[in-house]
Symmetry: C2
Subunit: 411 residues, 2 copies
Amino acid sequence: MAPLPVSPLAPEGLPALPPVAGCRFSAVEAGVRYKGRRDVLLAEFVPGTTVAGVLTRNQMPGAPVDWCRAQLPAGRARGLVVNAGNANVFTGAHGRTACNETAAAAARLLGCPPSEIMLASTGVIGEPLPYERIVAALPGAQASLSDNSWADAARAIMTTDTFPKAASRTANIRGVPVRINGIAKGSGMIAPDMATMLSFVVTDAQVPADVLQTLLSRSTARTFNAITVDSDTSTSDTLLLFATGQVPHAAITGAGDPALRDFRAKLQDLLKDLALQVVRDGEGAQKLVEVTVTGAASERAARRIALAIADSPLVKTAIAGEDANWGRIVMAVGKSGQKADRDRLAVDIGGVVVARDGARVEGYDEAPVAAHMKGSEIAITVDVGVGRGRSTVWTCDLTHGYIDINADYRS
Amino acid sequence: MAPLPVSPLAPEGLPALPPVAGCRFSAVEAGVRYKGRRDVLLAEFVPGTTVAGVLTRNQMPGAPVDWCRAQLPAGRARGLVVNAGNANVFTGAHGRTACNETAAAAARLLGCPPSEIMLASTGVIGEPLPYERIVAALPGAQASLSDNSWADAARAIMTTDTFPKAASRTANIRGVPVRINGIAKGSGMIAPDMATMLSFVVTDAQVPADVLQTLLSRSTARTFNAITVDSDTSTSDTLLLFATGQVPHAAITGAGDPALRDFRAKLQDLLKDLALQVVRDGEGAQKLVEVTVTGAASERAARRIALAIADSPLVKTAIAGEDANWGRIVMAVGKSGQKADRDRLAVDIGGVVVARDGARVEGYDEAPVAAHMKGSEIAITVDVGVGRGRSTVWTCDLTHGYIDINADYRS
């Protein structure tokens, strides 16, 4: 299969990614699956770095996910090894060996216990991971570690992504500026791989691991867990947040510490930025779609209704066809299983009132809505008329490109 | 949009549909939306006919669904009016008026209370139903009622179906043969309509309404409720079963009456036949897929896992690409949220063992599986290794045809 064209929704380019003190990266060619490109990423963190993580809820997780789940409670990290091309999923005992051997090799190089090495893999599933190639590539990777390799890192973890994904923010903790950088990959496909999503975020702030975990879990709900390309949950989804603690600032007392207000906001903003970059690279995506549901029984109910709309093949194909097909939106609300009042339902598209009180508005003029549908960013708002719960999720349209990418034979 | 080509999965033709005593049909042109084709169906049942129904669980049901839900508890039916082209969904007070007026007009013609007229509509949603055209067409329909119009009836309820769907069985109740005929429509699409599913089944047996309802509800779980084309639940799904009682046989004492054993089996077989015809006409379908899950915690859990596989866009596109992509099947099991043991998981495709105990089998030979994937009927079996629950569902692949049909502008 020829390389995919860059998504029409891609940002103009990678943002500037200044170094984050205490963190160095290296990307090397290990030939795990791809030829002629860097496919293994090594990261080194200074001693004392804390870590938090959010992992896939898919019940068939890959071996690296199991590995991270076992190590994360200790909250300490000195290294990270990521490979692209093979997800090390559904690989049984061999998969566990691959994790053990990779972590041991990295730990020897970085001078720490293997439990402080985080692991992630993305790519084809069910194939044994040739971890020897990774182990063999690590010494060379260590030799080229640099604090200026963020762009290389973003590229090394791509599989069939059509553009590298990164974001950077500066937050203020009691008057002291701290940096947060993040990279992500997802979700193109050329082989039989799932659209795995990986993201790694590093800050130079001093944040205890338990606080870091609370911040990350809260932010994820409205960022990475609020996006969907095709409703298929990967077996490898991994989001890790590292804090190197290299910037001196007043000690953090807990996740609710007022000193973290700006950090929390900037972290969530960065995660949302990365998450939307993943949707913008959704397989075959031509349009970015924001779905907001209000008036639901709870935030959870609102989120489920929003996802029912965002995952509906009929809604997504209508958007691909630039059809303001609000009838399909109504259908999706109704299939969600969540409480909603048909006779009070309201639908807006692109800010234009389409339906109120369970029926199309009198004298509905489709022209401004049709014009909105021709744009590359679509906004749908639905009020379901039963409560105060609200939620926003993001998705993309369902196009021939998705079929092209996914119905292809494995190479 | 040009007429769709007949599905490659269509049966060779309509089966023979002998009359069912006590039931007459007429199909006429009312011009509700389509021109030059019959689009309204009138059915008349003899006095004493019982009725049972299963209606959509979508919480945004159409007005005719509300109407049937209100009338079904009485269990009596003298007539049925169905129109194609407009679903009378999300139409507010006007939709209720349309139902009231249509039922009143049919009731006057057939000499019964309006509550004994069942109603169903399929087609575009959110547009007011021009019920006056239906009311005006009913006298002509009554004048041409015939017990030999089953094929016309099957055609009159089509929207973008590429072939009419019908089935007939003969069952034996204590030595007396009774007939069961059924028709169904679903699930093509040219406009913004949802893939609505309607089915009407008539028997000449004498079955009390409460028994009929029990038989229908039980059979639906393993037939119509075990199919999925695109996971989008229609706002109009309606399945009605009428019993005219015109064949004299020993009285039925209850749903568990041993005399009903053959009737139950034949009814379920007929419903499955009709349900599979709907999948065979799934939008863009090129392959019929049977997914069986065993070893689940319960039948309900097995069904959810099977539906997670059958609804996964990645599984369905892989099948379209004739790719034996069992990795995506594993992913779908894992995302279902149901209990499953990754390390005991087993996958068979086309009867060939692919994976056992959580990994691909040693020396796996893809050739026979690849050959199976090239056929038009695909069988997937997954054992999840935790219990004895089992379930089978049917779906079709996800192809460019689906995008073509659904991304099209509304005409």
